[in-house]
Symmetry: C2
């Protein structure tokens, strides 16, 4: 896998990510780590570590003779696809990274582990870690099939480590998310124009406009089903159905929560359109705007995310309001990642450079309607000479 570490920036990102996992495996005395991405249990860590888009088992074997600390075996459902996407130009014949067919193991993960462990001459008693989401009945099968090894399945294992690592984006990921944000911003500007011009009249119009524009601008589409809730439905946190043929942008408050998927990475923003508000509605909107400004102003390297969420809760409670959801979340290959931005005792996330996350204060009232404002924030510099964050998206309250 020399190519992984020496070639293009893209390839070295994968190598750097793998190297971190091998280091962690050494600390944890894990000899072999298996990841599984199948229809019933999706795991985007395989894409994050290799570039392969999915439907595969990934085996990471710790090997101190390898330049990055280990070897990779990617058992793909579609080998041709894996050869196109995994490690880009790194050949499958490379000693440190091989691509094999999942069918070679009769599509049985426990059989794959047994065959690979035998091939690699992994000593009996070694620790082999399987996904933390392995169902209990399936775990029993692994243990029954692999009696020679110590099968590890735990909450604070490899999956938790990858959640932490993925919370901090590397340069390649930041570049992709900047591009995704730029497209999102163009869509926001076009939405404003079209709602004002009256060419977007219904929730369905807004949702389809976003889907069409995202695709036209080179995205794979939206990152989740757009939530378009006109004045009659905006009081719900997440309206169901996510859009209807009801009017959008009329008198009162209309919420539009969407994101694009660009190069596998997801943005997530929420706009509120406000028209002819009464005094109470105006107060609600101003409070949400104030909360958003407060939250963003606190987004610094070293800040505990629970403190940001607590500050917003306090602001709302002074006006006798309560937000019925968390303040935000990381974004990346999934629309909901880490860090968590929530005012709860078990949240110990601290912001650091490279984290990209949403802040999305919102208030909802059955009579007044709902208002939410969500933008995507990147934590940048860690010194006083650098700005400490960057607001990547330009979602806003649009007063009609």
């Amino acid at each position: 896998m020399e190519k992984l570490s020496n070639n293009s920036s893209k390839e070295s990102s994968y190598a750097a990510r793998l190297e971190k996992i091998y280091n962690w495996m050494a600390e944890e005395n894990i000899t072999l780590l298996m990841l599984e991405d199948t229809e019933t249990r999706r795991d985007l860590n395989i894409r994050w570590l290799t570039g392969h888009p999915g439907d595969a088992l990934l085996f990471l074997y710790r090997d101190s003779t390898s330049s990055i600390g280990g070897r990779v075996i990617l058992a793909a459902w579609d080998v041709n696809l894996a050869k196109l996407y995994a490690f880009k130009s790194s050949p499958a014949s490379d000693a440190d990274a091989v691509i094999v067919s999942y069918n070679d193991f009769d599509r049985k993960p426990s059989k794959a582990i047994a065959m690979i462990a035998q091939k690699l001459k992994i000593p009996a008693g070694s620790r082999i870690e399987i996904p933390s989401v392995t169902p209990y009945p399936v775990f029993l099968n692994y243990v029954g099939d692999l009696t020679d090894y110590d099968i590890i399945c735990r909450e604070n294992g490899a999956a938790a480590e990858m959640r932490k690592l993925r919370a901090v984006k590397d340069e390649d990921e930041i570049a992709i998310l900047r591009k995704a944000a730029a497209i999102t911003n163009e869509i926001i500007n076009s939405l404003e124009k079209n709602v004002i011009a009256g060419t977007i009249k219904t929730e369905a119009d807004a949702a389809l406009f976003i889907e069409t524009e995202a695709r036209r601008q080179g995205c794979d589409g939206t990152s989740f089903g757009t939530i378009a809730a006109g004045p009659q439905r905006s009081y719900a946190i997440h309206a169901f159905p996510s859009w209807t043929h009801a009017p959008f942008g009329g008198q009162g408050l209309s919420i539009l929560d969407f994101g694009v998927n660009y190069g596998g990475y997801c943005t997530d923003v929420t706009l509120t359109f406000a028209r002819d508000l009464d005094v109470k509605q105006e107060k609600l909107v101003n409070l949400v705007e104030k909360a958003a400004k407060l939250a963003v102003s606190m987004a610094h390297n070293g800040t505990r995310t629970k403190d940001i969420a607590a500050a917003v809760d306090t602001l709302f409670s002074k006006s006798k309001k309560k937000m019925p959801h968390g303040l935000g979340h990381g974004i990346g290959l999934q629309e909901h990642e880490y860090p968590v931005i929530r005012n709860s005792s078990d949240n110990d996330w601290v912001l650091s450079p490279g984290m990209i996350f949403t802040v999305e204060p919102g208030l909802y009232d059955p009579l007044l309607g709902g208002c939410r404002l969500e933008n995507d924030i990147l934590i940048t510099g860690n010194s006083s000479s650098q700005p400490e964050h960057e607001i990547l998206t330009n979602a806003r309250i649009i007063r009609l």
Copy 2:
């Protein structure tokens, strides 16, 4: 819950489904059954059993004094949404079905079980079943938190029973899927016209056309990301990305695999567009058409699905061809449900009236391209006087 059993057809469907589960619980001596639908572990059985679209825990408590054999507690993240959708007009105050807030249990399923078991005075030692997909580390938490009860988590439990039950659609489901199929068929006809007229020129055009038409015709959208693969990419089983801006419908074979989501239910069809084929390509297409006819002709009540898949495999092998995927699958609330239509020794599914499934023979060649033909079939009558199946969709090979 009298309303469930006595009112509209919609409501009695839910009651009938619940009754089957309570009967099964009695056989299995399960006192309380918990289902979980959350972002990390989706379970559409909650929608199937109650109409509530999701983000909830569902508790089914066996109680022989209830007219349908038990009581329902729906712990919803969004209680207002649950009141709108669950059991339709059945009030939450009804003694046999209550809606409560998931927040009442601090969003902890094990706490919810403990509180509900106490409220219902469930005797110590009772069998309480939790989802079969519960991860092993989470299972350990349940067992630690609920020492008074026998916590059951198994592969052949409630989830397997519901897979079997859901494989046979009831009248309400058949009516919805007929409507979904009718919309799918209109879209197929429009696709043909637009590809011939040249208004659909690229894979992206085809995918966006389907998304737009589905929404225009009252669907929630497509049931999965449309796969549009022009002549250069159709050799892949499932092309990635699922569509690009590459040409579609030019010389050779173009595959279009899509479905609509109507009222929560999914169709799934695949067309192949063929233009100016050479002799080998023509042979490939004819073979796939022949396989589709053969498979449909065998779709009768009482037929083992593995026999249908084996017949297609045999047909292909006579021409020295091999299909790299299964022959088909059930459709319903998800695009992939049961029965399985696959030639494998562990497949013991047998067709029965009410089953709706795809048959999708396909052949793929790196030089010739790929061809797949997929339609949705309903098993109808079970007597010789009735037709034994109905082809709900009109997917076809379209020769340009």
